[in-house]
């Protein structure tokens, strides 16, 4: 999956650690998601969507899209 987390973070001047604290995971997990090495659980994806006030599908998309 691809995602827009780095851009969304940058728009809000947030560090990976800030975002990690906000959604209750480690910074390494945010880093792994941004680098496409880890696909978040549905729960975490929904938390990220809620945090950025965006539908999940506007943050994450399948590789072939």
């Amino acid at each position: 999956m691809k995602n827009d987390l780095p851009d969304l973070r940058e728009e809000r001047s947030l560090s990976q650690a800030d975002l990690a604290d906000a959604v209750g995971v480690t910074r390494q997990t945010i880093n792994a998601i941004e680098r496409g090495r880890y696909d978040p659980s549905l729960e975490l994806a929904l938390k990220l969507g809620e945090f950025f006030d965006r539908p999940v599908e506007k943050i994450f998309r399948l590789d072939e899209e």
């Binding site: 560090s15 990976q16 650690a17 800030d18 990690a20 604290d21 209750g24 995971v25 480690t26 910074r27 390494q28 997990t29 792994a32 880890y38 978040p40 659980s41 729960e43 975490l44």
Partner: protein, 135 residues
């Protein structure tokens, strides 16, 4: 990486490393002390080690381990079960054939290992059914 992120990572890493090292030390003391003839000291040290590890996890303010760590553990567990299963599926039928051909004598320890493998996969099958029923 910003200074805040480095400080944050350093703090998390310290706790995570301390947690893992405590578990490793607890197991090392447990087996080591039992091996050299101090079983009660081994068990006592192990219990203290586990208590320290649990308190380390509790005293850390944020999530020390999260869903990615659980996923990593799950993947490692999947591989362990698969490797163990394939090894058993090759080894034990081979030993049975060799014994039937008179080229191997079934020993007590082989029977113990076979029993342990059977119990392991019996438990696995039970848990599979249990988890499936819940979902």
């Amino acid at each position: 990486m910003t200074f805040t992120e480095i400080a944050h990572d350093s703090n998390v890493s310290t706790y995570r490393n301390a947690y893992r090292a405590t578990w490793a030390a607890a197991f090392a003391c447990y087996f080591g002390l039992i091996a050299i003839g101090y079983p009660l000291a081994g068990v006592g040290t192990f219990v203290v080690g586990v208590a320290v590890a649990v308190s380390l996890r509790q005293t850390y303010g944020g999530p020390l381990f999260d869903e990615r760590d659980r996923e990593i553990h799950r993947t490692a567990a999947d591989w362990t079960v698969a490797v163990f299963g394939w090894a058993a599926a090759v080894t034990f039928p081979t030993l049975v054939v060799l014994e039937a051909l008179g080229r191997y004598e079934w020993s007590a320890w082989t029977t113990t290992i076979a029993g342990a493998v059977f119990a392991f996969y019996g438990l696995y099958a039970l848990l599979l059914v249990s988890v499936r029923l819940r979902q």
